[in-house]
């Protein structure tokens, strides 16, 4: 298939890449931009590992094509820190042991960021709801709640 040029905004930068038109945002991020922090766990929209933010909202990057989002701002885990300053969620996840194998972590962080942006002091119920599309096989979610709580107080 012929590749087509696609322009997209990722982590505050504009990129133009040549990609197969049927390739998903997940594939373009990982393969064309080398942003492998976004993970694939199923490529069927079932696990949440590929969660990114598009215009601040959670999106499963395995289920959208870059053409669908145009120039809307995409945030991946690589764009979570502000320069050398880690995001409060990153620090809190480290301190609370909320990342074990780390594979669901990028998606989990972005879901948590979307939550905190909308609800700076979320309840446990709001947290459970916000990350319900992000499967974690390691933690049992407890330390993730604790980390989000800690970040919300930072």
């Amino acid at each position: 298939m012929t590749k087509a040029l696609t322009t997209l905004r990722v982590n505050g930068e504009t990129h133009t890449v040549a990609a197969e038109p049927h390739h998903t945002l997940l594939e373009v991020l990982r393969e064309e931009l080398g942003l492998t922090g976004t993970k694939h766990g199923c490529e069927l929209g079932e696990c949440g590992a590929c969660t990114v933010l598009v215009d601040g909202k959670q999106v499963l990057s395995c289920l959208v094509l870059p053409q669908q989002i145009g120039m809307l701002e995409v945030t991946t885990v690589e764009g979570l820190a502000k320069g050398p300053e880690l995001h409060a969620l990153q620090t809190a996840f480290a301190e609370e042991g909320a990342a074990q194998c780390g594979y669901c972590t990028p998606g989990m962080l972005l879901s948590a960021k979307a939550l905190l942006d909308a609800h700076p002091r979320p309840t446990r119920e709001q947290m459970a709801d916000a990350i319900s599309g992000n499967l974690c096989r390691c933690t049992g979610y407890t330390s993730i709640y604790e980390a989000i709580e800690k970040a919300s107080r930072a």
């Binding site: 042991g97 962080l109 049992g140 979610y141 993730i144």
Partner: protein, 802 residues
């Protein structure tokens, strides 16, 4: 003040930052110049002879570079040397739907995928076997010709003491059948690897594996390439739980395709394929007979297990023994008999999942103890406390026990949950239940019986005070890299952030046998401590001379070597290291660890069960059953775990919570089930993993017993706490509705069945579970379905058999 400077502190893991910034490189994140993409063609038959494979059309497909089949790698392989019954790709026969048959390497994934449908495989379908009962009886169908009796893979019998006399002395004998359903690990990261064969004739394989050492061995055997020319690097595993501890077809295929094409080759399984790779929890039917005196004292136990092993051996011989071995380490059992049999069936191979082989019998045992306590009118916690196996003892099957914290765990969960008050006051539909369990801190014997260490580590101190630890352990999310850094830092008196960890690399690091059987903290921890103490001795020798302080008065912490009597009298760590390097040359030391002798018996089969130290745990589950809908809600799980010493309490709690979560999933919903040999739900939508909305409140309590075998007293934390959770929930369900579930999972449908509400007949049951081994009924509907699947697949792939 703590006697330690690093241990016992809730420090972030040293590898956390890579995970949190998206920079950790998992196998699928690796991309090399000229890399090819691989895909596996998988069997569409549960049991069939391969008559012919035609790859010519696929090879001609644009973008396809190379294809290999089973004939290219006919050497038998497998994790256990005595039962190697697998090949990298199927040779002559397929034994389950999803078994890899051929491997394609192409310029991109799309081309590789398209090529699969162009490979013509001519199959001659054979009669499949799907159940334990059929496998035990059908002599006319052999999944493996090597099975001497029907389709039995392995049969084991162990007896300790006079069983008849033991039962004769009992006032009450309980005889229960139960069934533990199979389930799978479902790590969020699918299996993945990249192989690169260089112009120098050397092969490098980056792979998501728990066992780089055994992959190293098997690559040599299958490829015929000397191990000295192979380097295996275990990439960080995105979850494993036992599911990445076998050598797999995609690893050999990547390696061979790279050797053939002289280009790097990557394979990443898709989610459906992960369910076929499996190696998960064995479905086990069990019969457990236990005799007790009026006061509950156990007089005899006879346990029989029937394991559905799926199509290949995997760790099956160990799994079979494990169903029997650890029954004895929790409560006093004076007489014990164990009979285990594992059979082949035409389903994906079962193997080790967190709790390996001990989870199923523990379910049977702890549920039965609950029944005994009820019959004797004893409180289930009080009863267990009364019959505890003592610390520093030997069990009837000759396992040596050191520290034994089960009593402390039971007391801790009783207190934390207000057990006594709740047992009295809960209304119908609400229940509380308890269970205990145990696990090993690494197997006492290695997979290959040889006198070499189970774990080796090297430490190097650089001139800037940096410490590099090299150890063959595989980081699977359990925190092994951090454990290595923690033990090295504590031993040398630096901080974990000063430590660089090189793990899982067969060229750069000494052998560690791998991240299985909860062995890493015990074994690699001791090896690192051994290496660290050797270097510390050199630092102390140099510092002693410089400071004029006898070595025995020196200590090291917080990057200082100092006089214990006058801490201001000190050298910095760098000064001491530079002095020592000037005296002794480059500061490198190796350490190693091997479990002590004499921790198990001498009988045949005694190799499975011994460990340097057992971990213990107790769980209390609180549940609500909706009497109208049958919905089981687990409200809270409280687990206390005896980990010896918590090197990092946050990480230990994480293991306890994660184990509780995984056990909860196993009893509430998870099942690896098949129709006509076809997996019924090979996706994360249909295979129900608990989400954040399902998962109960999890409470973790750390109990410390300071075991003299462990590094600084530590025992395992990664597997044991799963075992107590599952029966605790079943016992809580009984407390809530008076129904015994001798079967997992406990679904709403089964609860409604027991409550007489599934249909209009209103027949209630006080128990759900098997009554024995069934007859070897041949399920005709299932077989018709399998036959029609075969026909459909033949049509789709244009097989010449049509």
């Amino acid at each position: 003040m703590s006697e330690f400077s690093v241990l016992g502190r809730r420090l972030p893991k040293v590898n956390a930052w890579a995970h949190l910034t998206g920079t950790a490189l998992y196998a699928d994140d690796i991309r090399l110049p000229r890399m090819l993409y691989g895909r596996l063609l998988r069997s569409t038959h549960p049991h069939a002879r391969i008559k012919r494979i035609d790859v010519s059309r696929a090879l001609a497909h644009p973008g396809v570079v190379a294809i290999v089949t089973g004939a290219d790698m006919p050497e038998k392989m497998g994790i256990m040397p005595s039962t190697q019954d697998e090949t990298a790709l199927a040779v002559d026969k397929v034994r389950y739907i999803g078994e890899p048959v051929a491997a394609v390497a192409a310029l991109d994934e799309d081309a590789a995928f398209e090529a699969l449908s162009l490979i013509g495989v001519e199959y001659e379908p054979l009669e499949p076997i799907f159940t334990i009962e059929e496998a035990l009886e059908r002599e006319d169908v052999k999944i493996h010709d090597e099975s001497r009796r029907a389709n039995v893979f392995k049969e084991v019998h162990l007896a300790f003491g006079d069983l008849d006399a033991g039962f004769a002395a009992a006032d009450l004998i309980r005889d229960d059948w139960s069934f533990f359903e199979g389930n799978t690990h479902a790590p969020i990261e699918a299996h993945s690897c990249v192989a690169s064969f260089g112009g120098d004739g050397k092969l490098t394989l980056w792979t998501a594996t728990q066992v780089p050492h055994y992959v190293h061995r098997e690559l040599e055997k299958v490829l015929g390439l000397p191990r000295s020319r192979i380097r295996v690097i275990a990439t960080p595993n995105g979850g494993a739980f036992g599911g990445k501890s076998d050598p797999f077809g995609h690893e050999f295929s990547a390696a061979l395709l790279s050797m053939r094409t002289k280009r790097p080759v990557k394979f990443t399984l898709d989610r459906e394929e992960v369910f076929y790779a499996h190696r998960g929890r064995h479905p086990v039917k069990m019969r457990l007979r236990t005799g007790v005196k009026k006061d509950g004292e156990i007089t005899a136990v006879h346990f029989q297990s029937y394991l559905d092993g799926g199509a290949y051996a995997s760790y099956g011989i160990a799994t079979t023994y494990y169903t029997g071995a650890l029954m004895t380490v929790t409560y006093r059992i004076p007489v014990y008999k164990f009979d285990g049999v594992r059979v082949y069936t035409n389903k994906p191979p079962c193997g080790p999942k967190r709790g390996h082989g001990t989870t199923q019998p523990r379910y049977a045992f702890e549920c039965q103890l609950d029944k005994i306590a009820t019959e004797l009118g004893l409180d289930p916690i009080e009863y267990r406390l009364r019959v505890l196996q003592p610390a520093n003892s030997r069990t009837v099957n000759d396992l040596r026990i050191t520290t034994m914290g089960l009593g402390d765990c039971l007391k801790a969960v009783r207190k934390a949950t207000a057990w006594d008050a709740k047992r009295e006051s809960l209304p119908k539909g609400k229940g509380i239940g308890v269970a205990g369990s145990a696990y090993i801190s690494g197997a006492g014997l290695p997979i290959y019986w040889n006198p070499m260490p189970h774990s080796g580590a090297e430490i190097r101190i650089d001139r800037g005070g940096g410490v590099t630890v090299m150890c063959g352990t595989a980081e699977i999310g359990q925190g092994s890299d951090n454990m290595l850094a923690t033990v090295a830092a504590e031993t040398l008196g630096v901080l974990p952030e000063d430590v660089h960890v090189v793990s899982g690399d067969t060229s750069l690091a000494p052998v560690d046998l791998g991240s299985y059987s909860s062995r890493v903290t015990m074994m690699a921890g001791n090896a690192v401590k051994d290496a660290g103490l050797k270097l510390r001795a050199l630092l102390f020798e140099a510092a002693s001379e410089k400071l004029g302080v006898p070595v025995e008065h020196l200590a090291t912490a917080y990057r200082r070597v100092y006089d214990l009597r006058d801490p201001e009298k000190h050298l910095t760590f760098i000064e001491a290291a530079n002095l020592a390097e000037g005296r002794h040359g480059t500061l490198v030391a190796a350490g190693s660890y091997k479990p002590p002798a004499g921790i198990g018996g001498n009988y045949k089969g005694a190799g499975v069960g011994p460990t340097p130290a057992y971990s213990y745990q107790a769980s209390v589950a609180e549940v609500t059953v909706d009497l109208d809908t049958g919905t089981l809600t687990v409200d809270k799980i409280t687990t206390a775990h005896d980990c010896g010493r918590a090197l990092n309490p946050a990480n230990v709690e994480g293991q306890i919570e994660g184990s509780a979560y995984m056990g909860y999933g196993e009893i509430i919903a998870e099942e690896q089930i098949f129709r006509g040999g076809l997996h019924k739900k090979p996706s994360l939508l249909d295979y129900k993993l608990p989400t954040s909305l399902d998962t109960p409140e999890l409470v973790a309590i750390v109990v410390e017993t300071n075991d003299s075998e462990g590094p600084f007293g530590a025992k395992e934390a990664g597997e044991g706490p799963l075992n107590s959770v599952i029966p605790a929930i079943a016992n809580a369900v009984y407390d809530a509705i008076g129904v015994r579930f001798d079967e997992t999972p406990i679904t709403a449908e089964k609860i409604l069945d027991a409550l007489g509400k599934r249909d209009n007949r209103g027949v209630t049951k006080d128990r759900i579970g098997p009554d024995g081994l069934g007859e070897a009924k041949i399920d005709r509907a299932t077989r018709r379905l399998a036959a029609s699947t075969d026909a459909r697949e033949r049509k789709k792939t244009g097989s010449p058999a049509d």
